[in-house]
């Protein structure tokens, strides 16, 4: 079967995209396998102002998952546009620039600059704390999300993916608000806010107390969220959360996703991206699937 799929006019050779923050800008994993075999790569999250990220422990293993508090360490949008994008372009795959931010002005400035860059899509990560409204994340309340998405939409000339947080108060309302504000597609989920405690030290493992949970542990919840969002929105959806195997990819597509992103699995198996793409082809044959349309959203 032809694994390709089109989202917002962009052709993906297959629906398997490397998730933001887990794959850098593709360079390191390209030393292990040809990352051009992937459907796409979502870049490390970029912010308008370069960031050093968080102090202390940044990654921590949990049952079938992990927590991270990298804190968006990145060289900034400008450095990416000047250097990073061209390097990523060497890979024959869809380039998605992932962008975070902590105030609307920065999001808008970043989106404007990225619109001029040689990228295929912009993925707006609205899970970050909104410094101007007391650290409450944009990604929790639908009206706040609507505002930032609309502002970015106004300046963004690339197809705009909005990446949703599973911590949103109501994921479906959130999705509808982003769609209404002009998102061309949605991706979900980002990490779940979680806590780990070092009982010997009697303090949180992470400096910021809370950190983001990802990996196979969250898959069943992520799949439910993707399903309920896909039932309500018209825009295409990238399913994300604990995807580790080709079987997982089919689950997300049957739940309504058009493509998926693979994050934590890259750490458990450095060849995960390549393996999932290969297995997917064989699995579709085995399951007698002849086109994505046949199964997308079938449940």
């Amino acid at each position: 079967m032809n694994l390709s799929t089109t989202i917002n006019g962009v052709l993906f050779k297959n629906p398997v995209v490397a998730a933001s923050g887990t794959f850098g800008f593709g360079e390191e994993y390209n030393e292990l396998y040809d990352v051009s075999c992937l459907g796409g790569i979502s870049s490390k999250g970029l912010t308008w102002i370069p960031k050093d990220g968080n102090e202390g422990i940044r990654v921590y293993e949990t049952a079938s998952g992990m927590m991270n508090s990298v804190g968006l360490q990145n060289p900034g949008v400008r450095a990416f546009v000047e250097e990073g994008a061209a390097k990523m372009r060497r890979f024959n795959t869809v380039l998605i620039a992932n962008m975070g931010g902590s105030c609307i002005d920065d999001y808008v400035a970043g989106a404007e600059l990225l619109s001029s860059a040689d990228i295929d899509m912009l993925e707006l990560n609205i899970s970050c704390p909104n410094v101007k409204s007391g650290g409450m994340a944009f990604g929790l309340k639908a009206d706040v999300a609507h505002e930032v998405v609309a502002a970015v939409r106004a300046v963004c000339t690339k197809p705009l993916i909005v990446k949703l947080s599973p911590n949103a108060e109501n994921i479906v309302e959130m999705a509808l608000a982003c769609e209404a504000a002009g998102a061309d597609s949605l991706s979900l989920v980002n990490t779940f806010q979680a806590l780990a405690i070092d009982i010997h030290q009697r303090r949180p493992v992470f400096r910021n107390t809370y950190a983001g949970l990802s990996g196979a542990a969250i898959k069943p919840i992520a799949l439910r969220m993707v399903h309920s969002v896909c039932k309500q929105v018209k825009v295409p959806v990238f399913g994300i959360g604990g995807i580790t195997t080709a079987e997982d990819v089919l689950e997300f597509i049957m739940a309504g996703a058009t493509a998926v992103q693979v994050g934590t699995a890259n750490f458990s198996d450095p060849l995960a991206g390549q393996r999932i793409v290969r297995d997917l082809e064989a699995l579709c044959d085995k399951e007698g699937i002849s086109s994505w349309d046949e199964i997308r959203g079938c449940i």
Partner: protein, 248 residues
């Protein structure tokens, strides 16, 4: 750097909690101070485990590890003939090629094993290598250093064997052209401070929790005088002068 399945050749306990794992090398690179990510499970654990190169032989890689948690406990269960997945070699090791004259290696606890390959490469490079090994109580791996060291100094905290006290008590950095250290951070800080005082260049091998191990996730970044650095890629070995603020 490659990711490959390797057959376990042996996995031998040295002490109650310290093991040496020998696995097929499959032509992988391996330089002093570098490490591999190891995996001896399917989905039971999420992350691979970073372990330094203890010895790299023609056909085999040797890892020495202490059982401290679930991952290393799984490693300890491996038997000859089992399969282990290896990702490596990874990171930036000790700057062997630019060394000359005399170099001191100062290791503490499980910081000792990587210095074995380091002593070997330094000696092969024609550098006189003195080795300072600090143990809590039980010695291990001392004999591994004999072929590759001019002098070996040993200490234990309570004097069970060798000098009684900290290994840093024995070190005189001014006798050396450079000092390489690996071990607990307090020890490395001390070594770095002693070297800084004598203007002897010093390199330290850092530990940090890792996810990808190859530089992609920024899970292991640390702040240095030279900006944020990835322990897994830019390190684990760094020049001491960018590491510890008190010596900058």
């Amino acid at each position: 750097m490659t990711y490959f399945d390797s057959k376990v050749i042996s996995n031998t306990p040295l002490t109650d909690e310290i093991y040496v794992l020998v696995a097929e090398r499959h032509g992988a690179d391996a330089n002093a101070g570098q490490f591999f990510m190891l995996k001896a499970w399917d989905n039971e654990l999420t992350l691979m485990r970073p372990i330094s190169i203890f010895k790299a032989e023609e056909e085999t890689l040797h890892f020495m590890y202490r059982v401290v948690g679930r991952g290393t406990r799984k490693l300890a269960e491996l038997k000859a003939g089992d399969t282990i997945s290896l990702l490596g070699s990874l990171g930036t090791g000790y700057p062997i090629a630019q060394m000359k004259g005399r170099v001191a290696l100062v290791g503490g606890g499980l910081g000792i094993p990587p210095l074995c390959q380091t002593a070997k490469e330094l000696t092969a490079h024609g550098v006189q290598t003195d080795v300072y090994l600090g143990y809590r109580d039980v010695l291990f791996a001392v004999e591994e250093f004999e072929p590759h060291s001019a002098n070996i100094f040993v200490s234990t905290e309570k004097g069970d064997e060798g000098y009684r006290g900290f290994i840093t008590d024995l070190l005189k950095p001014e006798q050396y052209d450079a000092v390489f250290t690996c071990g607990p951070e307090v020890m490395m800080r001390k070594v770095a401070a002693m070297c800084a005082a004598q203007h002897v260049p010093c390199w330290c091998s850092m530990e940090h929790r890792m996810a990808c191990g190859i530089g992609a996730c920024l899970g292991c970044s640390i702040r240095t005088a030279d900006g944020m650095k990835r322990v897994c890629k830019d390190g684990p070995v760094f020049p001491a002068n960018i590491l510890f603020q008190e010596n900058q």
